[in-house]
Symmetry: C2
Subunit: 344 residues, 2 copies
Amino acid sequence: MHKTSTINDVARLAGVSKRTVSRVINGSLSVGDGTRERVEKIISELNYSPNTQARGLASSRSYLLGLIYDNPDALYLDDVQRGVLEVCSQLGYELVVHPCRYRSETLVQDCFNFINRSKLDGVIVLPPVSELDHLASALKEAGRPYVRLTSVLLDETRHSVVSDDRAAAAEMARYFAQLGHSDIAFISGPQRYKSSTERMEGFKLGLSAYGIELKPERIIEGNNTYETGIECARQLLTQQPLPSAIFANNDQMAAGVLKAAHDLGIAIPRQLSVAGFDDNLLASRVIPALTTIRRPVRQMAQLAASKIIMDIEHNSKAANNVAAKVAPTLVVRESTARFAEPAA
Amino acid sequence: MHKTSTINDVARLAGVSKRTVSRVINGSLSVGDGTRERVEKIISELNYSPNTQARGLASSRSYLLGLIYDNPDALYLDDVQRGVLEVCSQLGYELVVHPCRYRSETLVQDCFNFINRSKLDGVIVLPPVSELDHLASALKEAGRPYVRLTSVLLDETRHSVVSDDRAAAAEMARYFAQLGHSDIAFISGPQRYKSSTERMEGFKLGLSAYGIELKPERIIEGNNTYETGIECARQLLTQQPLPSAIFANNDQMAAGVLKAAHDLGIAIPRQLSVAGFDDNLLASRVIPALTTIRRPVRQMAQLAASKIIMDIEHNSKAANNVAAKVAPTLVVRESTARFAEPAA
DNA sequence: TTGTATGCGTTATCAG
DNA sequence: CTGATAACGCATACAA
């Protein structure tokens, strides 16, 4: 806790030049074994660690990673942060968080100010901001390492970690079909988001494999929030006949469906099956617990962090070797059941 | 996005020395109006912004704030981050997040490594880590600006933002009493946390004002998690007679109570009133929605950020002028009702 | 009010 | 394999 020591102290005590100490720190191969050991001994005795700012000034690196996002689900964000941190703190990087506004005219400018101000070594971009191609182009052009978390491949694999939402939604469709449901409704997310269209397409495709059609009047667009989940469900559940199952674009909205059904006296899953997407904390807490799709968010975040650090330290080829795809999986809980003819 | 310009470029183009540019940047008063304008014009033309690393090297400041925490509720963390960012991004600071382990032997060392490595200008510490006096002492001794978010005043006001959990719990007690409940149970948090003991004490005190005693067999200690909420509730709800109300130390556990009651066929709020603490997102999403105590977390975070930046920029006296106390409030929803004699 | 010179702790250039 | 020495971009004591 006393005055922190510098490379000069190390050099003096080890009886070498600072250049040599620098070599040791950075793992240069061209240092004699004896010299290296001596320097390392002093380093640990002094509990010395290099000054990041000075290092950055000289080498234009900051050991800082940025996380760019716009107002995601708190639980999703938390998962991402954990995943990223698990990797980056191991490797000596810190994480700087940066909310921004998806719709802002100055989004790109804002992000670059953020990046330049703090001299970020790289950034991880979360959906839906990650779907913005002009941001990605700007990042690429600026030569700034970046990775996008998305629901469908939108970029080179060294810049992508994607969950196959389409396939996952198709799996949900198959599950519904096998339960005997045929009159199924879907509460979609905003159509401007790729994640929304992917899930909808996947669901339709999955259904059609069983000869089931997702009728246009059974599709309502929500906003991925609990509140719009309630609204959409209310619309769906005041029509006659009632659908026997509802698939919502995410868990928040599915929770809203539960609420609306409860208010309308509709029993779940007896009269209505409900499923969500994400498997965030909420999904397992509500009653009945939600059947949903689990996205391995934490793992995606870890991959993103690994990828970006590979890119930073070994240049982009290495980044390609980190997996870029993860598979979401179906989690069956209590909110879905076999189709039963409504009691007269 | 082209090569970023430096203070030298500005100086050259404005026809002044870099010392003068530096003065303008830092808002020194002793600069001629004409000179200042000229410099500012060039600055905006060049879209120049000072290199934080160089700045830090020269003045030992980083414009980085740290957030230290151990595994808090995701929703709580999200609220905090938002609050802090609202303030600090206005004032030119970035936020670096840093999870750590409350019980770790090397906690203090870890935190200092984090702080020193990134040359953080200050740190905000979240509960329960914020309750660790030895960490605070070390921070103080090192002269590093810091602010603790706590449930009871543990430090000088310039280092504290506290929510009066005791008073809030007492208010909940009053509310229960006025609903006619007298056989009340409490699921506490871990007793090693001050927040837990404060809430329990407050609740007891509030009850005793109405001549109601919180019987020892009606107190069970949980772990602030959903799962332990279920377990504790199960113990409470398999005793005879049943308590008519349960107050849980937080919303997660209260949600667990809802689940346990549901499984046991106990109707809420008709047969049992349930309340939580925090008012996190979950509270309003479960069915029935939870009566709870709302902690103004976001506001606390804003205050903490303001306080710490005051400390950094104007030295500790100013930090004292930022409010250090906030009052949680009772939020009545659907999970509580007037006491009704159990039907024979 | 303005400018000069020096230092902050590293990395990088170029010799040896 | 190792060592002087010059950047890196900015702030600040000290002059003018």
